[in-house]
């Protein structure tokens, strides 16, 4: 008897729990209504800083470019258009830039944008008043003047052909001085959306800026960016309807294609195998070239990105349009014999041993590393893979340049100078491979002084050729990001930078 009753009680409790759980089957209101004006977008991880002048992570700008604008805004083709500046003039000597501020542009706090807001924003980045610069991007500016409320005059120390490219919100968002201290907690900008709240590791919510200067935009009322690191759970959220837009792993596309719109975006990034030129044997160009011949990029692309990537030959992606030098991607065709011959010439007939240090924060690095190591083995190079934490990678490899070989991807910029400037020899911070080539340095100095765009393009192309011929690194690929989109939405625009333009997204008619 008693036994039975105990079992009975157990069962009762369990069934109660289960029924209590399954009783109310009402989930969150699913988006069945025709008009979706509030959407959720999945982002892989949290922003670094909400303050646009402090932020550097590309994921931050993917979100926050909806909140901030610069004097110029980026366009999907990689060019820029006047935004807060309505018109601009450059003096003949290329030293004086005069910007007229657009009427009707106001900050999210309701104040109209005035010339001194622009001056304040630039001086904040340059640390003019505080002595604490947040970037060296504007070291070229000698003085900023505001002759009237609508005019900003910037005087440069020397001509700078890539100056205008630095005037988007990526590098110089225009923000109001009144919000100086709170910019990192309650950011205020002029963009199509205004910031509502940020819950670390959970979500960031923005809502429509009703007074946005581009009339009729944005279409959406509210966008909730949810931070989900795990791809698998992001996919489940997409399928469960909790998320409307997310990037998806390439091998999942075929599975998702029938229920979602798939958009493939060229990232304009450069995924590369870098080696430390300051260390032997990588200081020898023949060794670097040998490694270039040893690596089969197509295999890495297939294994790492499921084939969804564009092969590269230099530190630039075709997404950069006219600046891109074509034909370099096949400069080094995989050729084991040639690689061995070059190694022998360099004094390593039997190859050598080295380490390939990669970060653990994204599996693409270790995946690519495994393929690369097998390929290197064929020419006699024994590379040991060392997987380290991202923080350690940033400190040891990127900061101290204490490594032999590594794999990393550099995210895209609008400005070709910023993309190629990494390899200038005195760029100690970001010149990861310690590339040192006087001819290259001269080209980059010339291009900055060059006013004619056709000539700039020519110089940039020459610079790319040098990187290829000198085998600065093994430039592997620009990988694409596949996006899955709720089929009820349209207007998703892709940019050659990390920017998810929410202002164009709208419910399908």
């Amino acid at each position: 008897m008693a036994k039975r009753s105990i079992i009975f009680i157990c069962l009762l409790i369990m069934s109660l729990v289960v029924s209590a759980c399954s009783g109310k089957e009402e989930k969150k209101p699913s988006k069945t209504q025709e008009d979706i004006r509030e959407i959720s977008v999945r982002i892989n991880s949290d922003p670094d800083f909400l303050d646009p002048h402090k932020a550097k992570a590309s994921l931050t700008f993917r979100v926050m470019l909806n909140v901030f604008e610069g004097l110029f805004n980026p366009l999907p083709d990689g060019s820029i258009e006047p935004a807060i500046a309505e018109t601009y003039e450059v003096s003949d000597d290329g030293l004086v830039y005069t910007f007229k501020i657009r009427n009707g542009v106001q900050f999210h706090n309701g104040n109209a944008v005035a010339a001194n807001d622009v001056k304040y924003s630039f001086e904040r980045i340059m640390g003019t008043k505080t002595g604490e610069p947040l970037s060296s991007d504007f070291n070229v500016i000698q003085a900023i003047e505001t002759p009237d409320d609508k005019t900003v005059v910037m005087k440069l120390k020397q001509p700078d052909s890539s100056f205008l490219y630095r005037l988007t919100a990526n590098q110089s968002a225009i923000i109001p001085e009144s919000n100086d201290a709170d910019q990192n907690t309650k950011p205020i900008g002029t963009g199509p959306f205004q910031f509502v709240e940020y819950n670390p590791e959970n979500n960031l919510i923005i809502e429509k800026n009703k007074d946005y200067w581009k009339k009729g935009k944005p279409y959406l009322d509210k966008v909730k960016f949810v931070f989900q690191t795990d791809n698998q759970s992001a996919l489940l959220s997409l399928q469960g309807g909790q998320v409307d837009i997310t990037d998806v792993p390439a091998h999942k596309i075929s599975e998702l294609e029938k229920d979602f719109s798939i958009i493939k975006q060229d990232n304009n990034s450069v995924f590369l195998l870098g080696f430390n030129h300051d260390k032997k044997p990588f200081s020898d160009v023949r060794v670097r070239q040998a490694i270039n011949y040893a690596i089969n990029k197509d295999e890495i692309i297939e294994a790492t990105f499921s084939g969804l990537a564009t092969k590269l030959g230099s530190n630039m992606s075709p997404a950069m349009g006219s600046f891109y030098k074509e034909g370099l991607d096949n400069h080094y065709k995989p050729d084991v014999d040639k690689a061995k011959k070059l190694l022998a010439e360099a004094g390593y007939p039997d190859g050598f041993s080295t380490t390939l240090t990669v970060s653990s924060h994204n599996e693409i690095y270790s995946n690519a590393a495994q393929v690369a190591v097998e390929q290197l083995k064929k020419v006699g190079i024994t590379a040991e893979i060392k997987v380290i934490e991202w923080a350690k990678w940033l400190e040891d490899v990127y900061g101290k340049k204490d490594y032999d070989m590594t794999l990393i991807d550099f995210t895209g910029k609008l400005d070709p100078f910023k993309v190629l400037g990494r390899y200038v020899s005195d760029n100690k911070g970001s010149n990861l491979v310690n590339f040192n080539n006087p001819e290259y340095d001269k080209l980059m100095a010339d291009v900055i002084a060059e006013k004619d765009e056709a000539k700039q393009i020519d110089l940039y192309k020459q610079a790319q050729e040098i990187l290829t011929e000198e085998a600065a690194a093994v430039f592997i690929a620009d990988f694409q990001t596949p996006w899955a989109l709720n089929p009820k939405l349209e207007g998703f625009k892709t940019y050659p930078i990390f920017y998810m333009d929410m202002s164009e997204i709208r419910p399908k008619k």
Binding site: I6, A57, L236, L394, S430
Partner: protein, 314 residues
Amino acid sequence: MTYIIRRFILLFVTLIFISVITFLVFQILPGDPVRTILGPEAEEVQVETLRRQMGLDKPAHVQYLNLVQGFFQGDMGDSIRFSRPVTSLIMERLPITISLAMFSLIIVIFVAIPLGIFTARRENKWSDFLLSSFTQLGMAIPTFFVGMMLILFIGMTFSFFSTGGYVPWSESVAGAIGSLALPALTIALPQIAISFRYARNAILEQSKLDYVRTARGKGLTEAVVVYKHVLKNSMIPVLTVFGLILAEVIAGTIVVEQVFSLPGIGRLLITAVSYRDFPVVQGIVLYIAFVVVLINFIVDILYTVLDPRIRLKE
């Protein structure tokens, strides 16, 4: 009274000890918070400026002493990564972690004790044997694996159970239960395995004592013997185990929050470590230590309630 004072001093010493260890461990870890937060696009001048603005350019021990000084004023400092007070970051996540821990504990209690009674009374029968084997299995399988299996087989089949993410209680009670049920079960399973054996053995041990025979002898029903006499007496060793289990449950939330992407304290701790966000790590570690010490304290008090013969003295 002196017991309580002694306990408090012990708590204080424990926390200081833990804080120093956390600090020393952080000194060994390579990596700089500002660099890690900004990633490879960072410029040198910016890294320097931000380090200065956040006070990270000062020697490590000075930063640490400032932090400790803040503690005594009730301020746990600001997160380096999120530039907001550590206390508020922890408080925001506390409901999730506490709900999860409580939920698992309830599952453990409601399954393990009845199961213990059930098997104790069928000692050496096949059901006892079968359940004991399951227990071994339950203890051997790592939580993250159990979690993923639950996601695959239950989460994907029944839409009620969420496979990741959290629905606040205020938004939907059913949603909250749905989002916590599987992670709670994941944490509970190995603990059920441990505690049910304890309960079983404790009950068995008690059942063989003289007073049980007397109780039976004077004609009490089996139910009264089991529930009134045996169960109450066997709860003291079980309670000790539950004190330990609650600590295990809290540790379990750290792993399980990763698997189910629940934005609780455990996940905050993991990311704080990878971003070298020392104030946050320090805050959470101290907080968890405090809770564990507190639980043991409460368990001690409960002993005296269950068995008035026990006096608290050391």
